[in-house]
Assembly symmetry: C2
Homo-oligomer: 301 residues x 2
């Protein structure tokens, strides 16, 4: 199997629980990469679920979350982070033996810890976080290449069978992802820095702007605050579920801002240039490792 084909995945029926941007992008990505099996879209009845079926991202729709585990050999739970634990449990309730369940939540400890207990026999849960997304929401923004070239973090437990991890590796690789493994704790510590603290900072900057000078913003302000338009409920759940690491990250940032403050107040131009030069190098190093946002197109509409 190539790293960007879903033609020979070791699954016959894949359930997508939650048919928003992430769930539908996964389903669309599988279809466009030739997944020959069946995809069941599971969600509350509504426009997302209808559109997922109309566009052919999913073959069947199901509104009863407790049925999906019975019908599938892989279930991917793509609901908001504060629903995932319940949704995984519901999906596992009536499962067929050998069911593998994963999720796409942006936090892992608060999800993996409770799910390490009390799952029905026959079901295996492994946490996933495909690090890609958009501030846009809903099936209408689904993109079969949303994940291509991005990193997916798996957070298996020590007791997780190696072949289940390998099956899940293959799944994310089929969407063009690079898979890495971390503990849930290491994941949450890293994502606080790469995503959650930047979100808080963008929000704090956006909210600090006096309304009467809004017309004086330009591209820099808009870029720096872009992620602040993300859904407040979803992000409150993410930040709340990683509050300890996010708090620590905010403190680290504030102490770096204090260094800038100190240098500015001393008028030490050499030190200021040095701080900015380090930051520029760090940003360039991060950008060099990050996947291009439009690196690959399947030619999908």
């Amino acid at each position: 199997m190539t790293s960007d084909s879903a033609q020979s995945l070791p699954f016959e029926t894949i359930g997508i629980v939650g048919c928003g941007l992430i769930g539908c992008s996964i389903a669309a990505g599988l279809k466009y990469r030739g997944f020959p099996g069946r995809i069941i879209g599971c969600g509350r009845s509504g426009p997302n679920l209808e559109m997922a079926a109309d566009r052919g991202y999913v073959d069947v729709v199901e509104t009863d979350f407790s049925q999906v585990g019975r019908l599938c050999d892989l279930v991917v739970v793509c609901t908001p982070v504060d629903h995932i634990v319940d949704d995984v449990r519901t999906a596992a309730r009536n499962c067929r033996p050998g069911l593998l369940i994963t999720d796409t939540g942006s936090v892992k400890r608060a999800i993996c810890e409770p799910l390490s207990r009390d799952l029905p026999a026959g079901a295996t849960y492994i946490g996933s976080h495909p690090i890609a997304g958009s501030e846009k929401q809903g099936c209408s923004h689904a993109n079969p290449d949303l994940f291509f070239g991005h990193v997916c973090v798996l957070t298996p437990a020590e007791s997780t069978p190696a072949y289940e991890i390998a099956r899940l590796d293959a799944f994310w690789q089929s969407l063009g992802m690079k898979v890495v493994r971390m503990s849930p704790e290491a994941h949450d510590r890293a994502l606080a820095q790469t995503s959650h603290v930047p979100h808080v900072v963008a929000a704090a900057l956006a909210a600090s702007l006096d309304p009467e000078i809004r017309h004086l913003t330009a591209g820099g302000f808009l870029d720096t605050t872009r992620i602040a338009v993300g859904d407040p409920e979803l992000w409150a759940a993410i930040l709340g579920a990683n509050a300890g690491e996010v708090s620590m990250g905010i403190r680290t940032l504030c102490s770096r801002l204090a260094t800038f403050l100190d240098v500015l107040e001393k008028g030490d131009r050499t030190a200021l240039t040095h701080l900015l030069r380090i930051a520029k190098q760090d940003r360039e190093a991060a950008a060099a490792l990050a996947p291009g946002r439009h690196q690959h197109r399947t030619g999908a509409p």
Copy 2:
């Protein structure tokens, strides 16, 4: 004259001092909008000045800054902020009577205050800040539409003759800009919020990232830190020249971050959602007022 034509500007010869991104974008914008007069590109000899002439952005090149005021009726100084005061004085030294001089610096008080004294008789200086730019530099990235739809702040003194302000209004409007007037102090206070503090924050975030988790960044981190790749020397000069307002802005931001910290540590999900919702609304309001980045194209190559 329409607001987007340079065909009947009240200037015959315009001097551009500093032929980098900003200077060459002004020259290119004038040419593409039909400016019938002569444009003199003034700078140190080197690739930028050569390219400005080769591409036809300027008609004549001049490396002696003290000659440009003698040859022009408008001089636009587009050099780094810490060079502007000297370059305006040099340009004014041998000026012809009625010379109007402006600049494009991102700070205004540190420039307008010294220039309110000691200019040769016959020369009038008015500060300008066309709020548009790019983290890219040099003549090779010049864009005749860089300014289109953006705001230009003028900071005339109380004693500045109204007809000189009107001539400068017409100049920036010919590039498609909306012109507003502010005091240098009000400009610097506003720009600290809309541009200078976001720059410091982007730099602090970029430099806070542990190198070993760079591969876990995605679009959100890259957007939030994009402006940190700006030139360290240029930005140290800008931040240094507006240190008081920038320091105050950093303190304001830190106190807003402290509010987030408080809410996170209390686990108050409702308050967290509320903070994020306000930020989202503020960001959307700013974006609604900001010009589209690719709003207009002249069809220029």
